[in-house]
C-alpha cells in the first residue's frame, strides 16, 4: 500500500505540470472550495494522523491547541531538518515529490489560519533546497501561493529557510530560535510553541512526512485513512532501512508490518547470510531492540511495548559482526558533539559517556564502569530543557542492559571481543 511514494517512479514528478496531471493540488482545491479551516482540523483529527518527526503526537490535536483571535499572526514551520542518524525519508519526499510537500503545507496553513509559512531545511540539503525553491516558484506562478489563492480570498506566503549544520535545530524550539537568527538553543516548555512560538506568536511545527499525508487525507477522506494500519497507528510510514540488509532504502508500508517482514521480505534479509543481532527501530536516539524482538509490529504502540520507540522510523539493522560498544560509542560521540551546552547534565554527561565508552572500546575499561555509565544515564534523563540528553542516555542504557556480557567482556579481557567482519 503506497500513498506518499505511489507516484515517485514517474519521471519529472518534480515539475508542477506532471504533479497536476496525477491529481496534484486537487486536495488544495477541494479544501478551499468545500472546507472551512476548522473542518480540515476535524478531518485530520478523525484520520488519526500522528506526527512523523519523532514524538508521534496527533497532528489534528496539536493544531487544535493554537489559540485563534489573539490578534497575533499564526505561523507554520515545516521541519525539514532531518538530522536524526539513520533517518533519510524526508529527503526522499523533498527531492522526488516537492509539490506534495507544498500542497500539504498550503492546506495545513489554511487550516491554521496562517498566512506566512516557513520550510526549515537542513543546510546539507543543498540539492533539496534547489528543488524546493523551484517548486515554490512554480506554485506561486500557478496561483497556489501568494494572494487570493485560486480565487478563494486566502493568502499565503512561503519562505524556504536553510539551516547551517546543527542537529539540535531539528528540535522544534531550537528550530524557532535558529529561524529567528540565533544559536539553536531549545526553549523551556511550557509555553508550547502552539501558544508562544516564532516571534512569540502561535506556531505549529510539523515534520515533512506528516504534512505530505494531508493532501491524501483530504482527497480520500479521514475514514479511508483511518482504515489503513491499526487503531491509533493509522496510515503508512516511510521506513528508512539501513545497515546490514541486502536492500537498504525507504519502504512505505502500513504500520501493520513486523520488523521481520520489513527486514526479510522487503529488504532482502541480512547481508552475507549473517544472523541478525540488533535493530535501532526509530533513529539513533531510541533504545535498541535485540534480535528476539524481530516479530514486533512496527507501529508506535507496539514498538513502545517492546521497550523502544518508533521515533523517526529510521531502522538501522546490525548483524552478528557488530560490536555494540563501538556502535554506541559512535552514537554517543554524536550527542556529545551536538549538545547545545545549555544544560550541565547534557553538556558534561554526553562527554563523560563518550570518554568512558572510548576507554572500554580501546581495551582500557575499568571494573565498575558499566555501573557508572548506567548511573550517569539515570542522571541525564528527564532533567534538561530538551530531550537531547535523554536521546543520548537511552541508547547507552539500553545497549548495556541488552548486551551486558559483551560490554563486561570488553572490560575483563581489555579488548574488543567481536571478530571483525570477514
Amino acid at each position: 500500500m503506497k500513498i506518499l511514494t505511489k507516484n515517485m517512479h514517474v519521471p519529472n514528478l518534480r515539475e508542477i505540470g506532471v504533479y497536476e496531471s496525477l491529481g496534484g493540488y486537487q486536495g488544495l482545491r477541494k479544501s478551499l472550495r468545500d472546507c472551512k479551516p476548522n473542518d480540515i482540523i476535524e478531518i485530520v483529527k478523525k484520520s488519526g494522523l500522528r506526527g512523523r518527526g519523532g514524538a508521534g503526537f496527533p497532528t489534528g490535536v496539536k493544531w487544535g491547541f493554537v489559540p485563534k483571535n489573539t490578534g497575533k499572526p499564526i505561523y507554520l514551520c515545516v521541519n525539514a531538518d532531518e538530522s536524526e542518524p539513520g533517518t533519510f525519508k524526508d529527503r526522499l519526499v523533498i527531492e522526488k515529490d516537492p509539490h506534495l510537500l507544498l500542497e500539504g503545507t498550503i492546506i495545513s496553513a489554511y487550516a491554521l489560519d496562517c498566512h506566512l509559512a516557513f520550510i526549515y531545511i537542513r543546510g546539507e540539503f543543498s540539492y533539496g533546497a534547489t528543488v524546493l525553491e523551484k517548486a515554490i516558484e512554480e506554485a506561486y506562478s500557478k496561483g497556489y501561493l501568494g494572494k487570493n489563492i485560486l480565487g478563494s480570498g486566502y493568502d499565503l506566503d512561503l519562505i524556504l529557510h536553510r539551516g547551517a549544520g546543527a542537529y539540535i535545530c531539528g528540535e522544534e524550539t531550537a528550530l524557532l530560535e535558529s529561524l529567528e537568527g540565533k544559536r539553536g538553543h531549545p526553549r523551556l516548555k511550557p509555553p508550547f510553541p502552539a501558544v508562544v512560538g516564532l516571534y512569540r506568536c502561535p506556531t505549529v511545527i510539523n515534520n515533512v512526512e506528516t504534512l505530505a499525508n494531508v493532501p491524501h487525507i483530504i482527497n480520500n477522506g479521514p475514514e479511508w485513512y483511518a482504515a489503513i494500519g491499526v487503531e491509533r497507528n493509522t496510515g503508512t510510514r516511510l521506513y528508512a532501512v539501513s545497515g546490514h540488509v541486502n536492500k537498504p532504502g525507504v519502504y512505505e508500508l502500513p504500520m501493520t508490518v513486523t520488523l521481520r517482514e520489513l527486514i526479510y521480505d522487503h529488504c532482502g534479509g541480512i547481508r552475507n547470510g549473517r544472523r541478525l543481532k540488533a535493530v535501532i527501530p526509530g533513529g539513533s536516539s531510541v533504545p535498541i531492540l535485540t534480535a528476539d524482538r524481530v516479530d514486533t509490529r512496527m507501529d508506535y504502540d507496539s514498538v513502545a511495548k517492546a521497550g523502544s520507540m518508533l521515533g523517526s522510523a529510521g531502522v538501522v539493522v546490525m548483524d552478528e559482526s557488530t560490536c555494540m560498544v563501538k556502535a554506541v560509542r559512535r552514537i554517543t560521540r554524536f550527542y556529545a558533539e551536538e549538545s547545545c551546552g545549555q544544560c550541565t547534565q547534557c553538556r558534561e554527561g554526553t562527554e563523560w559517556l563518550y570518554q568512558i565508552l572510548t576507554r572500554i572500546e580501546h581495551g582500557r575499561g575499568r571494573a565498575g564502569e558499566l555501573e557508572i555509565l548506567l548511573d550517569l544515564c539515570t542522571q541525564m534523563k528527564g532533567r534538561t530543557i530538551c530531550p537531547l540528553s535523554d536521546a543520548a542516555a537511552m541508547p547507552v542504557e539500553s545497549y548495556i542492559k541488552s548486551f551486558y556480557d559483551e560490554f563486561a567482556a570488553h572490560i575483563t579481557q581489555q579488548r574488543c571481543v567481536i571478530l571483525p567482519a570477514a
Binding site: 538530522s83 542518524p85 539513520g86 547551517a164 529567528e180 537568527g181 544559536r183 545497515g243 537498504p248 538501522v316
Partner: protein
C-alpha cells in the same frame, strides 16, 4: 569588504522576513560565498548591516558547523562516520582519503585544494558510505569510486 552584489542580496533577504534578524544566517551563507569562509571582515560587515555587535554575530556563526570560521580548501570533503556509515565501512573510506591526501580530519592539503572532515549523518544512510564534497553528495562509496571522483576534481 563584502561586495555590493552580496550587500544587495542581503538587503533583499532582510525585506523577505517579518523580522530582519531572521535573515542573519542566510546572510552569513551569502557572506561565506565570497571568501569561501567567514573571514573576520565578513563577520564585521554582516554585523554592521544587521546593526548587531560583531561578537553576537560571531557567536551565532560559531554555532553552525557549515559556517566556516577558518579558511578551507577548494574542495571540502565531509565523510559521514555516523552509525549506518560505520556499519558499511566508512572507516575504510576515511583511511583511504587520509592516505591519498596525506592529511587527517580537520586538515587542509598544502596546495589548498582539499579539506577533509568527518561529519554527522547526512540523511543518506541507505546508500552508505556517503560523503559530501562541497554541495554534492557522493553515495555508495568505495575507495576506487572515490579515486575516480577525486581524479576528476581539478
Amino acid at each position: 569588504m563584502l561586495s555590493e552584489a552580496t550587500r544587495q542580496k542581503i538587503d533583499a533577504l532582510i525585506r523577505k522576513y517579518p523580522h530582519p534578524r531572521s535573515a542573519l544566517i542566510p546572510a552569513l551563507w551569502l557572506a561565506q560565498q565570497e571568501a569561501g569562509y567567514l573571514c573576520p571582515e565578513a563577520i564585521r560587515d554582516v554585523a554592521e548591516i544587521f546593526k548587531l555587535p560583531t561578537n553576537e554575530v560571531y557567536e551565532v556563526a560559531s554555532f553552525y558547523t557549515m559556517l566556516y570560521k577558518k579558511p578551507v580548501g577548494k574542495y571540502v570533503i565531509q565523510v559521514c562516520t555516523n552509525i549506518s556509515c560505520l556499519l558499511c565501512n566508512c572507516e575504510e573510506i576515511m583511511a583511504h582519503l587520509e592516505n591519498r591526501l596525506g592529511i587527517g580530519p580537520g586538515e587542509t592539503t598544502s596546495d589548498k585544494r582539499f579539506t577533509l572532515m568527518e561529519t554527522e549523518c547526512l540523511a543518506s544512510c541507505g546508500t552508505a558510505p556517503v560523503a559530501q564534497i562541497n554541495e554534492d553528495y557522493y553515495e555508495s562509496l568505495t575507495p576506487e569510486k572515490l579515486d575516480r571522483i577525486l581524479d576528476s576534481m581539478k
